[in-house]
């Protein structure tokens, strides 16, 4: 009997061992390695506002969602910052309900899509995206940080489509304490914010935004949202009012401001001292809509100091200097100096330190009055009771730039 049982045992054991479990079929996917991963910079090089590029091969853009449809202020769309952190791109969908949320890592297959820069918004965009078929959400939970900037630093336009935080702004007069938009009358909101220099951006809020009936804050501080534009005017679309920290004192906390709009150089106790070539002096002038101080030392060996009134920074916390310039013709650069013991008269009667580390308008053979924001320049090292700021203009007989100067501010950051 044992033998009889042995035979089948061996037999069946063999059968068991000869059959092997098979792995389940692998549904094929596209091979990412066969495609090209495009950064926003690369896409901007391929497409422009006048050149729509259609991808016909496997190309991908990968990034993280920085604005979603949740608050209702964005509809059938998301904004995505690319993985290489070179900029942002706008996906417009055919339908709502993408289930893509801020922090989701996504990849869009660009094949058969048109990429262009929207001529109205100046934002890189892809229209009619099918999130069901072409977007893969492969991770979530990223925490994309906004790019910090001010309206005076000139970075805003370079970041259209991206998530930015504008510091040192408040809602402008007439736009505080009003509804972001009107969902009842179906009116979108256009509310100006401004910085201490009067630079403004329109906060544009859809009448479908769920927070539309909330009121705009009345204070001073920072605002975060997507930088957009409309026909050349800078706009901002916020993700949620919770990202507005605008509860600071409602005026700009400044020690001095000087914008020359009164057409006076000397108002506010400003003085100018010609060290050489007394005819070369700062004057006010209006070019376009901007009134500023202007100086030209053409053909002369000139040196002129435009000196601020005495500023008491002894109690200051984090003082800064900001201003902006526009220049033309090649020549010596405008210098900025600071003193803690100057009182009056020739500059040489005081001890001066030159400030650096800020941008100036280009002054070369081809430049032509490009307004350039300078600062904020930290004055933390100069918190004294008797502080003077001076702008030193110099020229030679063979080399003289024209400089325009405006919106000078010394204030708390």
């Amino acid at each position: 009997m044992k033998k009889l049982i042995l035979i089948p045992t061996v037999f069946f054991t063999t059968l068991v061992f000869t059959n092997c479990k098979k792995t389940a079929d692998l549904t094929p996917t596209r091979n990412l390695a066969d495609g090209t991963n495009q950064s926003v910079t690369q896409l901007k090089a391929i497409a422009s506002s006048t050149n729509t590029h259609r991808f016909t091969t496997e190309n991908y853009v990968t990034g993280v969602v920085i604005a979603d449809e949740l608050s209702g202020n964005f509809y059938k769309e998301v904004y995505v910052r690319d993985a290489a952190n070179t900029g942002a791109i706008h996906f417009k969908f055919l339908t709502t309900g993408s289930n893509l949320f801020i922090g989701d890592s996504v990849r869009l297959n660009l094949k058969n899509y048109d990429v262009n820069i929207d001529p109205t918004t100046q934002i890189l965009e892809i229209d009619s995206v099918s999130f069901d078929k072409n977007i893969a959400k492969f991770a979530s939970g990223a925490n994309p940080q906004p790019i910090a900037l001010t309206l005076a630093d000139g970075k805003y336009a370079a970041n259209y489509g991206d998530l930015v935080t504008i510091n040192r702004v408040s809602f402008a007069s007439g736009f505080t304490g009003v509804q972001f938009s009107d969902p009842i009358k179906q009116i979108s909101g256009n509310d100006n914010i401004q910085d201490c220099f009067g630079n403004t951006v329109i906060v544009r809020t859809s009448n479908y935004a769920l927070f539309g009936q909330q009121l705009t804050p009345t204070g001073f501080g920072s605002i975060t949202g997507i930088a957009t534009s409309y026909n050349g005017a800078a706009q901002m679309a916020i993700r949620t009012p919770n990202e507005l920290y605008m509860n600071g004192p409602s005026t700009c906390n400044t020690y001095i401001t000087k914008n020359f709009n009164d057409n006076l150089i000397a108002s506010g106790n400003w003085t100018q001292v010609s060290v050489s070539a007394p005819s070369v002096i700062w004057k006010t002038g209006t070019f376009g809509s901007v009134t500023s101080a202007t100086i030209s030392g053409f053909g002369q060996n000139a040196e002129n100091w435009l000196i601020s009134p005495s500023i008491n920074l002894s109690a200051a916390l984090n003082p800064i200097l900001a201003f902006r310039t526009a220049a033309k013709y090649a020549g010596l650069v405008l210098e900025v100096w600071i003193s803690s013991n100057y009182t009056s008269g020739l500059p040489s009667t005081g001890t001066w330190t030159q400030l650096s580390g800020f941008a100036l308008s280009p002054n070369n053979a081809t430049s032509s009055y490009v307004w350039t924001a300078s600062g904020p320049v930290s004055l933390n090292a100069f918190k004294n009771a008797n502080t003077h700021i001076a702008f030193r203009y110099t020229s030679t007989t063979t080399s003289a730039s024209n400089w325009e100067l405006d919106d000078i501010i010394v204030g708390e950051n």
């Binding site: 009997m1 009889l4 049982i5 035979i7 089948p8 037999f11 069946f12 059968l15 068991v16 061992f17 000869t18 059959n19 092997c20 479990k21 098979k22 792995t23 389940a24 079929d25 692998l26 549904t27 094929p28 996917t29 596209r30 091979n31 990412l32 949740l70 309900g97 993408s98 289930n99 949320f101 990849r107 297959n109 999130f131 069901d132 078929k133 072409n134 977007i135 893969a136 959400k137 492969f138 991770a139």
Partner: protein, 868 residues
């Protein structure tokens, strides 16, 4: 317990090595619904073939074959230990022997094939409750010889229910249980063969239960049986058998895990709700998913014993009647189903609508009326909305209808009205060591499907429109379900919607020869059949005015089957058997049409040809030992079923439409090993052990096509489904069981079993395994795995016990008590079944999450019967 752990470990080892092994007699098994394939166009669940409504039990509760499914009672005659476990112990886990669907096993009553000609399934509900007169079965599982019909991979069960087969006597039994029914009474009386040649048997039963285990479910089933035999002389006997088993069952739904968790019970059932009674106060439980069956069958047979070695059996039968399943339907109103995905908090949370999600969560968990109205169907609201819908007929739009309201919600019955008649002749003769069998049968089958308006729910009428077509055509006729009767107001009890008949005319001849050598028994069999299949549309609808009414093309399937086998007798107690069969058969009839409810158009393969027959190739090798105190069987089996058609209708998010999704050329493979051992010690102690290792999977990449349901747009064709090696769902593929029984001398016994279930898979949704479904993903993306990976349910074990005691007095009266208890540890966290919803979203797979059913905790059945 240690031994058990080792067994499980071995099992895992074998799993890794994988597939092969053995057989014998067997039992039946499948407990599928009879696939009253009502394709619910508004539901995205898998069709009824996989969507078993109430799962009935088996195990000790074998008699509760309520709905159309449980067949385990039939196995009582089987001596094979593996088959015993498969039916009484593993049935509760929805175990299907060898993973076979029901169509692979033939069910015969008095030799007549009662498998449904359309679906291949057998309608156990037709004789549910008639346990006393259907208990005498001859069952052989697997390939093998049969003297009654040509049988295939799953073998056959023949129920002998002629009056003359029953002994004289009366049997009265009462059972109390807590599973499907709470109370059952069965009474049977048989005269036995009387001196005058007559024999009469009568039987009746009733099974009643109201919310016995699962809330909202109920059963109200009765059955009646009468059989009369007249033995004219030694050579001629005539038998008449008639039975009917009217039943009404309130069913349970499968749910997402989220719904079970929110409801706080794994036996949550969304199919019912409260309705305020006429008195305005009492809240009554009402189930929206009720199946009703009344299908009488009459069999007239004549047995002619030509001589001592030759028998000719001629039977005529007629089987008719209705079965239906009720369902809510609605028009231009919110979905009334409480478990609709948008009503679950997860839908809100996924959209980051936290407040709404929290509010819904609170409602789902609420224990008061608000909670009831959230978790369950809110009948009162449906009725109120109907009564408030003062709505004019479209043709008179603008006028105020002040007399009648149009129902927004109705309860409808999806009816199948069957007429099936036939003739069956079996011839058996013995010539020395040769035994010849042969037969011929003719079957005419007509199944009329239509909808009947069950309840207008407070409204006055329902318009006979296809609401999914109403916005498609500018032409107002497009939405008409019946062009000859446009804009019809449907009233209670009227037929409406679709109305078509499937016709199957089947003829078969078969033969078998068996021959016994001294050491070897061999047999071979052959069958030839022809099936003519066509659809008859009884209405012309507006969507397909020219192709919806009348006869479709008549398809002819000429099929054949071959089988052969041998038993080698090593000695008088050890045997080796080998059996094999190859056969072809028509596909399931409803799968032959693109949209059977609305048009005659046929499904074509990618090459444009009509769909061909399915092929089944099956073989098995067994070793058997039969000693007085030791029995063993080991079987290796291997079955390939190929060229099948797979069909579902569901809402597709991809196409934003109801879609008929059809796969052609579907192949599946079933292979595995069965081992059963039984050892008796010291007469009173019986030890049993069984092990079934199975590997049931799809074995190729089928081709899919899809059609818009409400117009003739083909959405796509020739789409490859990467289904190869995905496991077939719905049954544990590997099972292990141990049993011990003590038999006392005074007619009593006690026993217990330990059963371990593993390798249970969720039936895959093919659309998720296509390149199109995952086109935006890379294989490294987490979403990809979520979409394509097949889910395996956790393994589990059950401990069951039973006890019997019999008294006999005056040599004539028998009183038997029987108590059986299942799942003694009361584990209520066993998911034994689930499926992937056909509706799915490739951005968020959990939006339409898998649905599951939980096995009940401890259940029992106590039975007493008295025979005299």
């Amino acid at each position: 317990m240690k031994g058990l752990l080792i067994a499980n470990k071995n099992l895992n080892m074998i799993k890794k090595l994988s597939c092969g092994i053995l057989l014998l007699v067997g039992g039946n098994l499948m407990s599928q619904t009879d696939s009253s394939a009502v394709n619910d166009s508004q539901s995205d669940t898998a069709n009824t073939k996989f969507n078993v409504p109430i799962f009935s039990t088996s195990g000790a509760d074998a008699d509760s074959d309520t709905d159309n499914q449980d067949a385990s009672g039939l196995l009582q005659s089987s001596k094979d230990v593996f088959s015993q476990f498969a039916s009484f112990q593993f049935g509760v886990a929805r175990y299907r022997m060898r993973g076979y669907a029901q169509e692979n096993q033939l069910v015969l009553i008095n030799g007549i094939n009662v498998n449904n000609l359309e679906t291949g399934t057998s309608s156990w509900s037709s004789w549910g409750g008639l346990n006393d007169v259907t208990r005498f079965t001859e069952t052989r599982f697997g390939n093998g010889a049969s003297r009654l019909a040509f049988t295939g991979a799953g073998g056959y069960t023949n129920i002998d229910s002629k009056a003359g087969s029953f002994r004289k006597g009366t049997r009265i039994s009462y059972a109390h249980a807590n599973r499907i029914f709470s109370d059952r009474v069965m009474v049977t009386h048989s005269t036995g063969q009387m001196a005058n040649g007559w024999a009469l048997t009568l039987s009746a039963s009733t099974r009643q239960g109201n919310q016995v285990y699962i809330p909202g479910t109920y059963i109200n089933a009765n059955s009646f049986y009468a059989a009369i035999d007249k033995r004219w002389n030694d050579r001629h006997t005539t038998s008449l058998v008639a039975f009917v088993a009217p039943s009404e069952v309130g069913r349970a739904a499968s749910e997402q895990l989220e719904a079970y968790q929110l409801a706080g019970t794994n036996y949550y059932n969304s199919a019912w709700g409260y309705q305020t009674a006429a008195d305005g106060k009492t809240r009554q439980v009402r189930n929206a998913s009720v199946s009703k069956t009344t299908r009488p069958m009459v069999i007239l047979s004549h047995v002619f014993n030509v001589n001592t070695n030759t028998k000719l059996t001629t039977s005529a039968f007629y089987n008719w009647g209705k079965s239906s399943i009720s369902s809510l339907n609605w028009n231009n109103s919110p979905n009334p189903r409480p478990d609709y995905y948008r009503y679950l908090p997860s839908y809100r949370y996924n959209q980051m609508e936290f407040d709404e999600g929290d509010a819904l969560t609170a409602l789902w968990k609420d224990k008061g009326v608000d909670g009831d109205n959230t978790r369950q169907i809110n009948w009162d609201r449906l009725i109120a909305m109907n009564r408030a819908n003062i709505y004019s007929l479209p043709s008179t739009a603008g006028t105020i209808n002040t007399t009648e309201t149009r129902s927004r919600y109705i309860l409808e019955d999806r009816v199948e009205d069957l007429k099936n008649g036939g003739l069956n002749i079996i011839y058996n003769t013995r010539i020395d060591k040769l035994f010849l069998s042969g037969g011929l049968n003719v079957n005419i089958y007509k199944n009329n499907r239509y909808k009947v308006l069950n309840d207008l729910l407070g409204g006055d009428f329902w318009l006979d429109y296809d609401q999914f077509a109403s916005n498609l055509g500018v032409d107002g006729t497009y939405q008409q379900n019946d062009l000859s009767n446009p804009d019809r107001k449907v009233r209670q009890g009227e037929k409406y919607g679709y109305n078509y008949t499937t016709n199957v005319n089947r003829n078969e001849v078969w033969g078998q020869a068996e021959y016994n050598f001294s050491k070897l028994d061999v047999y071979a069999g052959l069958t030839l059949s022809n099936s003519q299949i066509y659809r008859t549309g009884n209405l012309a609808n507006g969507k397909f005015p020219t192709t919806s009414k009348g006869n479709s093309e008549k398809l002819n399937f000429f099929n054949y089957g071959l089988k052969a086998g041998a038993t080698y007798k090593l000695d008088g107690r050890n045997f080796i058997t080998a059996n094999g069969a190859f056969l072809t058969r028509p596909p399931e009839v409803n799968n032959l049409f693109i949209s059977p409810r609305s048009r005659n158009d046929l499904v074509k393969t990618a090459s444009g040809a009509n769909v061909g027959s399915e092929n089944v190739l099956s073989y098995e090798i067994s070793y058997l030992a039969k000693y007085p105190t030791f029995k063993a069987r080991a079987t290796y089996y291997n079955t390939t079923i190929s060229n099948q058609v797979w069909y579902r209708t569901f809402w597709s998010d991809e196409f934003n439409n109801n879609v008929n999704y059809i796969m052609t050329g579907v192949n599946q493979q079933h292979q595995g090993v069965e081992i059963g051992l039984e050892k008796t010690l010291l007469t009173a102690h019986t030890l049993q052990g069984v092990f079934g290792y199975g590997n049931f999977y799809y074995s190729n990449r089928p081709t899919a096509q899809a059609w818009q349901d409400n117009n003739s747009t083909q959405l796509f064709t020739d789409r490859t489904v990467y289904l190869k090696n995905y496991r077939i769902g719905g049954t544990p593929q590997t099972v292990t069981g141990f049993g011990y029984k003590y038999t006392g001398k005074q007619f009593w016994s006690v026993g217990a079993t330990y059963n371990y279930f593993s390798q249970t898979f969720i039936e895959p949704n093919p659309d998720r395994r296509t390149a199109e479904a995952v086109q935006q993903y890379a294989t490294t993306d987490p979403m990809y795995k979520q979409i394509v990976t097949q889910q395996q349910l956790p393994n589990y074990f059950l401990i069951n016990a039973n006890a019997t005691k019999s008294f006999r007095f005056k040599g004539k009266y028998n009183l038997n008590f029987n108590l059986s208890v299942n799942n003694i540890l009361n584990n209520k966290n066993i998911r034994n079944w689930g499926f992937e919803q056909m509706r799915w979203n490739n951005n968020n797979v959990d939006k339409f999450a898998n649905k599951y059913q939980y096995m009940p905790g401890t259940t029992y059945m106590a039975m007493v019967n008295f025979t005299f």
